[in-house]
Subunit: 209 residues, 2 copies
Amino acid sequence: MTTTTRVPPVRVPRGEARARLIEAARSLVRHKGFAATSVDDLCAAAGVTKGAFFHHFPSKDALGVALIDDWTTMTGAMFASHPYNFKDDPLDRVFAYIDLRRELLGQPLPEFSCVAGTTVQEAYETSPPIRAAAERSIRSGFAHVLPHLEQALAAHPVPGVTAEGLAQQFQVATQGGIILAKALDDPAPARAAFDHLERYLRLLFGRPA
Amino acid sequence: MTTTTRVPPVRVPRGEARARLIEAARSLVRHKGFAATSVDDLCAAAGVTKGAFFHHFPSKDALGVALIDDWTTMTGAMFASHPYNFKDDPLDRVFAYIDLRRELLGQPLPEFSCVAGTTVQEAYETSPPIRAAAERSIRSGFAHVLPHLEQALAAHPVPGVTAEGLAQQFQVATQGGIILAKALDDPAPARAAFDHLERYLRLLFGRPA
DNA sequence: AGCAAGATACCAACCAGTTGGTATGCATTC
DNA sequence: GAATGCATACCAACTGGTTGGTATCTTGCT
């Protein structure tokens, strides 16, 4: 009789299950999308059991909401603390933000794809809570440039152009660029989207490179 | 004894199963995404059995490829036959194309969402054939404006700007606009994306509204 | 002791895909 | 032009595995 030495599986430290599940979800959703990611996948990747999953989240959709909200705070914190916010001129802050976005495109494709954009594409009709979380995320993205654009427009008004409208174009360029990059399997179009956005802003504000 | 009158289920006419499945897929994928749409869903919506499905498509992924390729030819034919192509001035053709895109945004959201963009977002890593089909679709989209942009740039060159690069921005605006519209549950941001694209082109080519 | 965190075991529904078969049409032969 | 032969189109029933979710028990902290 072989004493089946009960090897205690590498246990996730108590209290970390929730965070690990969200982390795993961030990665899996970026690679496969939300619907194609199963709860079992998530638990396996997080090193956690199903019981832990449904202890922390009442449903898979609820994990989706938590994932997107976590993504919103994560990116929000990252951009808020970045040095681009401390340039003197508001337009310089905007251009430095664009530089930062272009830098991020140096990572592998799944690493720069947007959790909110990916998920809302699938779930905008089937899960209102997920759609609402994506809306919060996108709107929070506006804030990364909105104040700078407001100041720039105050100093140099452009007829027919609002700061909100311009801030939206940053998200359009981001999300559209990601889709092109995925389809063409090449980050270049995503970078080009920011190049054109920068050229547009320079023309609008009379600030040639 | 009641003679259970054998009501023959409304049978799809012979030869139509394939087309109906693609049609059903177009609608379902736009509403729920590709992964969340099951083969049973598709068969039920098309009024066809599973046997018919796997007679025409070796796998669900193959249906995805056929769906996107069908979408590519469908949209290609629609844009190619449109009157905007017959204006004298190339830039007028480009602006008329933008008008057309804005008009299309008057439909309900699932009706103007892009099959290729939605699907590649989920499947770019998991299914190379689907990714390739999406690439064909996106590249075919470039062609709707590329010749006009080439002619416009030939007559009015802009340093650092290529026709290919500009054509890509049309897809960026389209795809990015759709994601914003889905997240904010409002087509306005998608329209605004084209407004800004038009303003950008007018600035580039010195052609004020 | 009490309570949140997490593990184990389980379930009914659903999943993509397969089976073995039938109905239909079309080309060839006589 | 009828009979033959065969491919295409389609169908109902089924399979093994997976799905999201639940019920119940154990662990460890305060």
